[in-house]
Symmetry: D2
Subunit: 204 residues, 4 copies
């Protein structure tokens, strides 16, 4: 089973990403469950703006999209700015939407039988709003959203430490991270064994 994390940090390369810190905490649970994981820092790719599968002209979304298609589990990770998910996360949703009219062999959307989750870190506020937006986007294009697949950390109102600097040790965040990993796994396994029946849900 494969889980793909798209880290939508605004910072590329080896720069510290607090969102990646939380992603890595969740990966420990996937390791225990025998799930293969890969983390892609999206901003390291030259992803074009647009709403198609391939915008041409050096657009590197297609190589990320191949990973999405191969994954059973997709998790979007994002930081928060002014209480909103990052522009990179918004772009990823736009590009995923760009593939939403593709179908599997049964005629269902290509994202059917895949499960989605979300990871958010921020200084202080906006996590639930970002989770709602991302999970809705995934659900609307065909992903299944198991219960409790949103894990986040924010600190007290105002400027302050980010996730890693704050000690990476919040009981609520830890507990949610564990439940998220297990529920993504349970549902991905179930959907692999018993795919969504092809009835009432094919694309015309």
């Amino acid at each position: 089973m494969k889980a793909l994390f798209l880290n939508c940090s605004l910072k590329g390369g080896d720069t510290t990403s607090h969102t990646e810190g939380l992603i890595n905490d969740i990966i420990l649970h996937f390791d225990a469950l025998g799930v293969d994981t890969e983390v892609v820092r999206v901003v390291d790719y030259n992803v074009a703006f647009g709403v198609t599968e391939d915008e041409g002209d050096g657009d590197e979304w297609p190589s990320i999209f191949e990973k999405v298609k191969a994954a059973d589990i997709l998790v979007i990770g994002t930081p928060l700015w002014l209480g909103e998910k990052s522009s990179v996360a918004t772009q990823v949703i736009e590009r995923l939407y760009g593939g939403s009219s593709l179908t599997n062999e049964e005629g269902q959307a290509i994202y059917y039988n895949k499960v989605g989750g979300v990871v958010v870190t921020g200084n202080e506020d906006g996590a639930k709003h970002a989770c709602a937006s991302i999970l809705y986007g995934l659900s609307h294009i065909g992903f299944t959203v198991p219960p409790n697949v949103d894990t986040y950390w924010v600190g007290e109102a105002g400027p302050g430490d980010s996730y890693i600097d704050a000690g990476r040790d919040n009981a609520f965040t830890k507990s949610h991270g564990k439940t998220m990993a297990y529920n993504l796994y349970h549902f991905a396994k179930q959907l692999k064994e018993t795919p969504i029946p092809v009835e009432g849900n094919t694309m015309e």
Copy 2:
């Protein structure tokens, strides 16, 4: 199998509810699938403000909550005002949240193995925002969100007809209503046969 619709219209009694019009269109699919359905117009009950299971003093939420507990499928229906779900819908989410620390026999949240969906009607704008908020609320407290379980209708920007007056005949809305009914059914059936494994997701 039982599907419960909580119609969060601001208008009670026999008043025309455009949201109920769309709910009724979706019920036709549940009828074909042999799913029992019930529609509750929440504003006809004296639901108290609060975040507990029972606020006492004549609070009628407990009788609605019994229906929620007995249902396999829960659909929240709401109109839009200023681009937001109704106050009644907000109140329903608050009261459902009030029961979120209750557990089933396995120690999971009481909403595990139930599936959730959303129906929205409005003159012109706000449906996706309301869907995102409601589906996230349900997911965060334990409901499963299958793909494509948001059905809505809005008209062109500005004042204009509401759903029923507009002819109740939008191909997009119809198609989504059908897929929603089928996917809620498929997942509810699957979760009845194979409940979510009790691993990594019990409440402490």
Copy 3:
């Protein structure tokens, strides 16, 4: 000059309201500026669901609406549940919207020349989302939104103390509360002296 605070706590009477705690902190600045203030705990009134000025049948919104009409400054205060403003706050926006087609003597919306702000408290997350929703609602029906008129407090992710219990001593929240009071005052004073010109903004 008059400032009206509508506290949209779910709890009535003399129950401790953390939102009211923050409101009271802001009122100290209004006191210093010579602004008369009044706090209404909305849930103590029998406010009917609806989108008109007066829903009849014992609806007590009209008495609150009179206070709104008499105020120069309106501040909505709300707690957070599942990352959203309260159902009472949603209801207040619906009822304010119900008066949005009324006009002043010049034919502008009745809310012209009034300024709006927002106060939010919650355990952990959702403040900016609630602020955005409330300030937009106010702006869309005719209120002016000065810069920096959103004051909030949330704690670290997960269960924890609410505003008053947390010590009521966050530098960011304090600073925002002060700026909010001053900017609401500056703009209300300016609009009293020089109302918005009656050109391009009357209702047809």
Copy 4:
């Protein structure tokens, strides 16, 4: 007086932008009022991801930022995808936020005495949500939001024509566009003549 429109379409160059169509409709009112206008299609610039004023390495945000600093009126224009403002609009808000700790000669945020507005076009849904997010972002960093400065067009639920193809002739959208232009003008003029008093709102 100068009004700057940042068109956050995903499409660059001379490609038809429906958002720009609506922007151009609003500019007619600015022309009548003697306001100088400029439209920047942001995606034509190589804007880096980040939250500083200048991300270096060929980042072309600084040249846009100079225009923002010179403008009295800033309007963000955005299309909608999955009910959300575009990734480009999100990026613009992030970059504006990156300049939010800069101050004017008085020690207030650099955006004080500037007014902000928003223009949205989409096939069908999400306008108010995008308006709320953008206006809140602007307000939180120092812009003034006059009443009724959100103009949008969306069509009926589901796939369909975009703004220009739909005939560019919606009475509600036209009326809002006019009011928006006049109120932005009225407030920008007032703030030029009587800037926000320097009391209670300087940055520490």
